[in-house]
């Protein structure tokens, strides 16, 4: 059996954050994203969801934060992330990010990542990987 077969990806603890409109407003400012669909604007109220939606990158930040907390600098210097957004995050809501180990391949620890709302709706899913050493 190869050493890779024996290796296990580091565990990543799930991370839950409350996303409300105040946080979305702060993110819009910090990320310099002026899109009015994220704020209490006419565009948001007349849009598909009749209210502001959180930035997808704000939701994705929870995944990166969870990976950083578990893996540290190796995530910042070798980590990879690929996701698709599946549903809008409409504040206020609690979002939980998780990364489930999917084995080791090519020297990389691989994960299935996802974010869910507090009512179980899938907000995004995808994959992540990080070098084992």
């Amino acid at each position: 059996m190869s050493s890779e077969a024996l290796a296990q990806p580091p565990a990543v603890a799930p991370l839950t954050r409350h996303i409300d409109q105040a946080l979305v407003d702060r993110y819009a400012s910090a990320a310099r994203d002026p899109n009015p669909i994220h704020r209490d604007t006419v565009e948001a109220r007349e849009g598909s969801y009749s209210r502001p939606i959180a930035h997808g990158m704000l939701v994705l930040a929870l995944v990166s934060e969870a990976m950083t907390a578990a893996i540290g600098e190796r995530w910042a210097a070798g980590g990879s992330l690929s996701v698709r957004w599946r549903a809008p995050a409409i504040p206020p809501l609690d979002v939980t990010a998780s990364a489930e180990p999917r084995g080791v391949e090519g020297g990389l620890a691989r994960y299935a990542v996802r974010c869910e709302s507090d009512d179980g709706e899938l907000l995004l899913d995808g994959t992540a990987s990080v070098p084992l050493s």
């Binding site: 991370l15 954050r17 409350h18 996303i19 946080l23 702060r26 993110y27 400012s29 910090a30 990320a31 310099r32 994203d33 002026p34 899109n35 565009e43 598909s48 997808g56 990158m57 704000l58 994705l60 930040a61 929870l62 990166s64 934060e65 969870a66 950083t68 907390a69 540290g72 600098e73 995530w75 910042a76 210097a77 070798g78 980590g79 990879s80 992330l81 690929s82 996701v83 698709r84 957004w85 995808g126």
Partner: protein, 143 residues
């Protein structure tokens, strides 16, 4: 920055940028506050949160392209190549990797690269879509 490009006029292999930017410790603190990140999972002492670098690339994409009504950011990938300390100056460049139109919707994929003085720090791909303007009809080709 030059005028914004029309999303519906983007062509495959079109290059946007480079765009200059800088992230300082205060920017990192604002990002962490805006993502409600706990200190342990956010910006440790010596480097910027990796997804903040990704967010910077998305910012430059938003700056470069006139965002049409109904545009949706559907997918995103990032490769974090190096940890980067606060106070770093960056150059961001974007390349239109793919555009297509189908059933009244225009799809676009843009490759993103963030470099500092030592070379690439982050690479990524952003996938977006937007409904074609109603006067454009339903297109079936691809570029």
């Amino acid at each position: 920055m030059a005028g914004k490009r029309d999303f519906f006029a983007l062509e495959r292999d079109e290059v946007l940028g480079p765009y200059e930017a800088r992230l300082d410790a205060a920017d990192a603190a604002a990002y962490l506050d805006a993502t409600a990140a706990a200190p342990a999972g956010g910006a440790p002492s010596g480097w910027l949160p990796p997804l903040q670098l990704g967010a910077l690339l998305v910012e430059k994409l938003i700056d470069a392209i006139e965002i049409p009504p109904g545009l949706v950011h559907t997918g995103q990938s990032f490769d974090f190549l190096r940890a980067v300390p606060p106070g770093t100056g960056f150059s961001a460049q974007l390349r239109v990797a793919q555009v297509s139109e189908r059933r009244g919707v225009r799809f676009g994929t843009v490759e993103l690269e963030l470099r500092d003085a030592d070379g690439p720090c982050v690479r990524g791909r952003a996938s977006v879509l937007a409904p074609l303007p109603s006067d454009a009809g339903t297109a079936g080709g691809s570029a």
